[in-house]
């Protein structure tokens, strides 16, 4: 506790460049979050740490910007009829439990193996989960794109049909996004896993959104919008926990929020212009790119734990810089795809409107 208090007192000085940097990263993170329901956090925490913000303060401040951002994003997307509030709350509550358990595991690993052990665990979780889930999501989006059936309604997976067919009396709840009744015994572990991932790599949505799509059978647009409700529930609880220890640097959180609210509104508007498979495409591309960023750091932590030959200082520096650059690139690439798809959607709508007006006149 003494360390925590010491760390809390260690809030950084803010200058114009720092404020501009946080605002821009916040904007890009918000843009991606508004579109796919999560993301951005994996860059924001290291971005703050690169400014000299202590790790725990960075995590706490990131979380304190996340829940109000998710709230605004969820409200915006609810206007478009994309949010399933009930599913979001049901998953969010079990995700909260997952966050607490995930944080507990983190603490134990840190106690047993130190900072390098904890970092290795986080990076390994990143690599394994992003490789499996990210690879699957990207493959699915790519298949849809190549098939040319991008306008067709998304098919519910066989797994989701099976989940929807199971009737466990006393546990069945109707969810409008699924248009079916499913047992909460299926949603609890999914929410829990989402929370555990959020506590480990800061982006629970990388499990939450794909599980809503492929395991429960929600359409991509509704899954990504509902993830914002989960992020709000998780973020609010997490922020309060960190704030109880005085770890939230509200200045950092609110400056990032300033940029991210511009971004999340734009990302949410973007979802109304694109075909559903684009959600999967952006998510898959970001996940697979981030995977390479974290994989580069694995040898650094292995070397610190003396599990492999010690790496030279210059090699470590190069690996760290490259990893950070790839992470920024992943976010920028996601934002670029979102903006491009949105731009194309707006243009084609304008053309359609002009055509319709001409027809009416004729």
């Amino acid at each position: 506790m003494h360390d925590i208090v010491k760390e809390a007192a260690n809030f950084i000085n803010l200058d114009v460049m720092t404020i501009a940097y946080l605002f821009i990263v916040g904007f890009v993170g918000g843009l991606v979050s508004g579109f796919i329901g999560s993301g951005g956090a994996f860059v924001l925490t290291p971005a703050m740490m690169s400014l000299g913000v202590p790790g725990l303060v960075a995590v706490a401040s990131n979380m304190c910007h996340k829940f109000p951002k998710a709230l605004i994003g969820a409200l915006k997307r609810a206007k478009y009829g994309q949010v399933d509030v009930k599913l979001g709350i049901v998953l969010g509550v079990s995700a909260e439990a997952g966050v607490l358990y995930g944080a507990h595991i983190q603490e134990n690993i840190k106690k047993a193996f130190g900072d390098a052990g904890s970092n290795l665990y986080v990076s390994a979780a990143f690599v394994v989960i992003l490789a499996i889930v990210g690879g699957f999501v990207l493959r699915d989006a790519w298949k849809t794109y190549k098939s040319g059936n991008t306008d067709e309604e998304e098919k519910v997976t066989k797994l989701a049909l099976w989940v929807q067919s199971i009737n466990i009396p006393g546990t069945m709840v109707y969810f409008k996004s699924l248009n079916a009744r499913i047992s909460v015994l299926f949603t609890i572990p999914l929410g829990f896993a989402t929370g555990m991932l959020a506590a480990t790599i800061a982006v629970g949505g990388f499990i939450g959104v794909p599980s809503m799509i492929y395991v429960l059978g929600a359409p991509s647009l509704m899954a990504s919008a509902t993830e914002l409700v989960i992020a709000f529930v998780m973020g609010l609880g997490g922020s309060f926990k960190y704030a109880m220890h005085g770890l939230v640097d509200i200045r950092l959180a609110m400056i990032i929020l300033a940029g991210s609210l511009f971004g999340i509104q734009l990302g949410a508007i973007g979802t109304t212009y694109v075909k559903p498979y684009m959600i999967k495409m952006v998510m898959g591309v970001i996940m697979v790119t981030v995977l390479f960023s974290r994989a580069l750091m694995v040898p650094v932590y292995l070397s610190q734990l003396e599990l492999i030959q010690k790496l030279g200082d210059s090699t470590v520096k190069v690996l760290k810089s490259t990893s950070f650059a790839i992470m920024i690139f992943a976010l920028a690439l996601g934002a670029f795809i979102v903006l491009k798809a949105m731009w194309q959607g707006i243009r084609s709508e304008k053309v359609a409107l002009r055509e319709a007006a001409r027809h009416r006149r004729a």
Partner: protein, 85 residues
């Protein structure tokens, strides 16, 4: 949406300006009074309500401002396909 509706629909300039001014004022206070804010917000315990309440207030004000900002810029959600036809 009919042509008439389209042309008569006003952009929320006044709302954007109003919320924008409040939002800027909040950020100015946050940065000018950061020493006092940091002192109390980092106390922990029941003082945890301070950052949480601040986050809600900022999100409400700045959220309304940014929403109106994009509307004024002409970036709005797609109209339903059936409306276009």
């Amino acid at each position: 949406m009919s042509e008439e509706n389209k042309t008569t629909k006003k952009k929320p300039y006044a709302k954007m300006m109003f919320m924008g001014i409040i939002s800027i004022a909040l950020y100015v206070i946050l940065l000018l009074k950061q020493d006092i804010i940091n002192k109390y917000f980092a106390l922990g315990g029941m003082y945890a309500f301070l950052p949480i309440a601040t986050a809600f207030i900022f999100s409400f004000v700045h959220g309304l401002f940014t929403g109106n900002f994009w509307t004024v810029m002409g970036i709005e959600a797609a109209r339903k396909k059936k409306e276009i036809k």
